[in-house]
């Protein structure tokens, strides 16, 4: 399937909330958003996949625990194994961890409260499908909104993640200082987003889809979607 405009599938699970917002962001950034339904086993030939934010199945048991078994996920997993760009935002990140595509897990924010706030992220690597155009060390502003965003991992996982440079973003100050004062949810090592070894699978708690339109928020999400569309293009071409 070749197209001049990269086609990005956005999966809607029961309880997905930011699926419309993710589709809008893809379109605004020049891609073509394609709705994917949790119960379909078909990715409709998309060039990249986004698992959006929300509360899939209410997140009552554990965030993402149930969504990960949705029929569409089999296709998503093999799409990722074939190297396809796969982005999990907030609840989508939690689904990727539950599905074992990314290391670690999310528990409740250390404040035990939901937090909706614009935060600064320090880019840790350009080796990922959403940081292609960025330089490690630079900071971007993007909102967070979650109650269970505290990323944790087993000691072994943590060693690997840091050794292999799998951290994509850390919560930081505007100037890139990473410390407890700039860690909104208590995440281990201020981790806000991580990738798999190949870099085609990325999950992050902040919401880049809410940081594209300057009329309603910051614009730190623009380069991330630009990068994702670029990766999708490459996949589509190659």
């Amino acid at each position: 399937m070749t197209s001049t405009v990269p086609r990005v599938g956005v999966v809607t699970f029961p309880g997905s909330l930011d699926d419309r917002d993710a589709r809008r962001a893809v379109d605004q950034m020049g891609g073509e958003a394609v709705s994917l339904w949790h119960a379909d086993r078909d990715l409709r030939g998309v060039d990249a996949v986004v698992l959006p934010g929300g509360f899939s199945y209410g997140d009552y048991l554990r965030c993402g625990a149930i969504a990960r078994f949705a029929p569409v996920m089999e296709q998503v997993v093999s799409f990722a194994e074939r190297g396809g760009p796969l982005l999990g935002i907030c609840n989508g990140f939690q689904v990727l961890c539950e599905a074992g595509l990314l290391p670690g897990a999310m528990i409740r924010n250390h404040s035990l409260r939901f937090i909706c706030r614009d935060v600064w992220l320090r880019v840790e690597t350009a080796q990922s499908c959403i940081t292609g155009g960025l330089t490690p060390g630079e900071t971007i502003e993007i909102p967070i909104k979650h109650g269970e965003g505290q990323w944790i991992a087993t000691p072994e996982q943590l060693v690997d993640v840091e050794r292999d440079g799998l951290v994509v973003f850390r919560y930081a100050s505007r100037t890139g200082i990473v410390d407890d004062d700039h860690n909104p949810n208590g995440a281990t090592n201020n981790v806000a987003g991580i990738r798999n070894a190949a870099g085609n699978v990325v999950g992050l708690m902040p919401h880049p889809e809410h940081a594209v339109d300057p009329d309603v928020g910051p614009t730190g999400g623009q380069p991330l979607f630009a990068s994702l569309l670029h990766a999708a293009m490459a996949g589509a071409a190659g």
Binding site: Y57, G58, Y60, L61, I66, F69
Partner: protein, 85 residues
């Protein structure tokens, strides 16, 4: 002073709907388990209390269960002592 370990189970009162339980129950069939009913999800709290004797400790844990660990309006609780290791 001795240390006693207790477990407190906090469960929704019968008759109240349990969204968590419902979510689990409706997820199980797609994993191949169609034979599960009446799923109820509650809290399990484990803690150590310093006290002179077991009875006193138990009393205190009951107090915590009522005042902090559960909301008697919607939840029941149950205190179990864990055999000392």
């Amino acid at each position: 002073m001795t240390t006693f370990t207790f477990e407190v189970l906090v469960t929704l009162k019968e008759g109240l709907s349990d969204p968590q339980g419902k979510a689990v129950e409706s997820a199980l069939p797609s994993l191949g388990w169609t034979n599960v009913r009446h799923v109820r999800v509650g809290k399990h709290i484990k803690l150590d209390v310093e006290a002179d004797d077991e009875a006193g400790a138990l009393d205190q844990v009951r107090g915590m269960a009522v005042r902090l660990l559960s909301n008697p309006v919607i939840e029941d609780y149950q205190v179990l002592e864990v055999a000392p290791r």
